[in-house]
């Protein structure tokens, strides 16, 4: 189970961001992407999950080209972007349910409630997301990580708007995922002390 | 075929239509030619400016 990037080059409009990025990430490994503002971290992560097309190079997940994954390989990958993909009109519980439904994943009501509880949303499962704080919305999104069967997580700035306790919880969750043989690619401007030893990719 | 320049310009009574059509076509093509030539000049001038100051040109795109 590997995620491979080969001589990736990306550009944003007229701007050439980076070129010649390559790595192979194996099961149980964590890749931490570092770089100043505008160095292309988000673009790299979007390229790694197949949303953006690289100007050159290729990304492979489970041996398949990331832009042409079959259904099974696609289900093995979970991306959390800058935006939470949390709908204002729906409650955290409904958001979670809809998100799982869209990916064709199954879970019981108890599992979902449990995930929200763990993510620190106990008591507001039934309140429309528009009344929640920014951090609580972020947690709603992160609750997906608890019940998704995906092996590869691509997390863009997951710590934004999270308080210290939530950060610790997320770090614990990532460590557990890695122990079970999962793969994580992430980026953050905040300190990542507390995470297992990552491989580091510098973009500059 | 035509009895002098006046007859030619009269176009058998259809002067307005015929010359209106040909005139607009001529105007259109002329205008297009001028615009394209101007754009070409502008682009070349910009590039020449850039090559004189290569450092400034970098990362600037257009």
């Amino acid at each position: 189970m590997t995620l491979e990037a080969e001589r990736l080059a990306c550009r944003r409009g007229e701007l050439h961001l980076f070129e010649g990025v390559g790595f192979a990430l194996a099961a149980g490994e964590l890749l931490f992407v570092r770089g100043r503002n505008g160095s292309g971290k988000t673009t790299l992560l979007r390229t790694l999950c197949g949303l953006s097309e690289p100007a050159r190079g290729q990304v492979r997940w489970l041996g398949q080209d990331i832009r042409r994954l079959d259904e099974r390989a696609q289900r093995q990958m979970l991306y959390l972007g800058h935006q939470d993909a949390v709908k204002d009109e729906l409650t955290p519980l409904e958001n979670l349910q809809v998100h799982q439904g869209l990916r064709g994943e199954r879970s019981t009501l108890d599992e979902r409630l449990d995930a929200l509880e763990q993510a620190g949303l106990g008591g507001c499962e039934e309140i429309p997301a528009r009344y929640l704080s920014q951090g609580q919305r972020r947690r709603t999104a992160l609750a997906r990580l608890l019940i998704s069967p995906a092996a590869l997580w691509v997390l863009d700035e997951p710590l934004t708007a999270l308080d210290r306790r939530a950060v610790a919880w997320l770090f614990g969750r990532i460590a557990e995922h890695l122990r079970r043989g999962g793969l994580v690619v992430t980026t953050s401007h905040q300190s990542i002390d507390g995470l297992p030893e990552p491989r580091i990719l510098e973009l500059d | 075929m035509w009895d002098g320049i006046g007859d030619f310009l009269a176009m058998g009574g259809y002067a307005l239509y015929v010359w209106g059509a040909f005139g607009m076509v001529a105007l259109g093509l002329l205008l297009e030619g001028i615009l394209v030539a101007r754009r070409r000049r502008q682009v070349r001038a910009r590039l020449q400016r850039q090559s004189r100051r290569p450092a400034a040109a970098r990362n600037q795109g257009e």
């Binding site: 990025v21 500059d204 | 015929v18 070409r40 070349r44």
Partner: protein, 274 residues
């Protein structure tokens, strides 16, 4: 991106295109002018008045070429759009973008000349028949292509979206034609490309063909010129473009640009490897 290594694809390199156009265009202008002068002479001084329409029919000598050019350029636009969407060849987008304004102008001129021809012959400047309506829609499609291309901040993205629109339009225009044809029909039949040969006096046909040739060559020249400017502006930072702007693009520079070694811009050091 394996296509990059196919030899013929090197002609799609903007640098090679630029040089080719640079050699071609100086011949095209006089050729177009020659055809136009000959065509106008034939059209105004040799071809006799028509038995029905008198001298008004002479508008045909510019109406038919512009109408043809409008449609032809739209097909080309859609074809280049498809090439760009499928193979991502940058030159295809440059060509498509260079074609659009000329196509829009030709379509507009064919509508204008058609209206001025229709007024004395049909008794109206405009009827909502199939050809007129679909030509008008063609004009909107050209304008839509240009607007969509220009509206996007990212030229590549704008080009792809606009190409998609051009292709959908290419499918839709025949449908529009038939739907209107069906609904209302007044326009004359086909008069040149008929199975029983053109139904036209020889001198008229000669004038028309000369004018058609003139418009073809003119369109070719102006599109190449616009594409040159577009190619230069997109590749502004490369060695070949700056040399070309100064008027001294060497063969060596051109070949280097064609195989993708871009001068003047040092590769960004991506720290890259873990």
């Amino acid at each position: 991106m394996t296509g990059r290594s196919i030899p013929w694809l090197k002609f799609t390199a903007p640098a090679n295109f630029y040089t080719l156009a640079q050699r071609l265009v100086p011949w095209l202008w006089p050729a177009a002018a020659l055809c136009a002068v000959a065509g106008l002479y034939m059209g105004f001084f040799v071809a006799p008045p028509d038995h029905q329409q008198g001298d008004a029919y002479r508008i045909l000598f510019i109406h038919v070429p512009t109408a043809w050019m409008g449609m032809l350029l739209y097909l080309l636009l859609a074809a280049y759009g498809a090439i760009f969407l499928v193979w991502r060849i940058k030159m295809a987008d440059i060509m498509a973008r260079a074609i659009a304004p000329t196509g829009a102008l030709m379509t507009f001129l064919s509508l204008w000349t058609g209206a001025l021809w229709g007024a004395p012959t049909w008794g109206t400047f405009w009827v909502w028949d199939a050809r007129l309506t679909s030509t008008l829609i063609l004009l909107f499609l050209f304008l839509g292509y240009m607007a969509l291309h220009a509206a996007s901040d990212d030229r590549e993205k704008g080009g792809r979206a606009a190409s998609l629109l051009a292709i959908i339009g290419a499918v839709n225009v025949p449908i529009i034609y038939f739907s209107v044809e069906w609904w209302y029909n007044l326009h004359q039949g086909v008069s040149v490309m008929r199975s029983d040969g053109p139904s036209m006096a020889d001198s008229m046909l000669a004038a028309l063909l000369l004018m058609i040739a003139a418009f073809w060559i003119y369109a070719g020249a102006i599109v190449l010129r616009r594409a040159q400017a577009e190619a230069l502006s997109r590749e502004a930072r490369t060695e070949w473009a700056q040399a070309a702007a100064a008027g001294r693009l060497t063969r060596e520079q051109r070949e280097r640009a064609a195989v993708g070694i871009e001068g003047n811009r040092p590769p960004l050091e991506s720290g890259g490897q873990t």
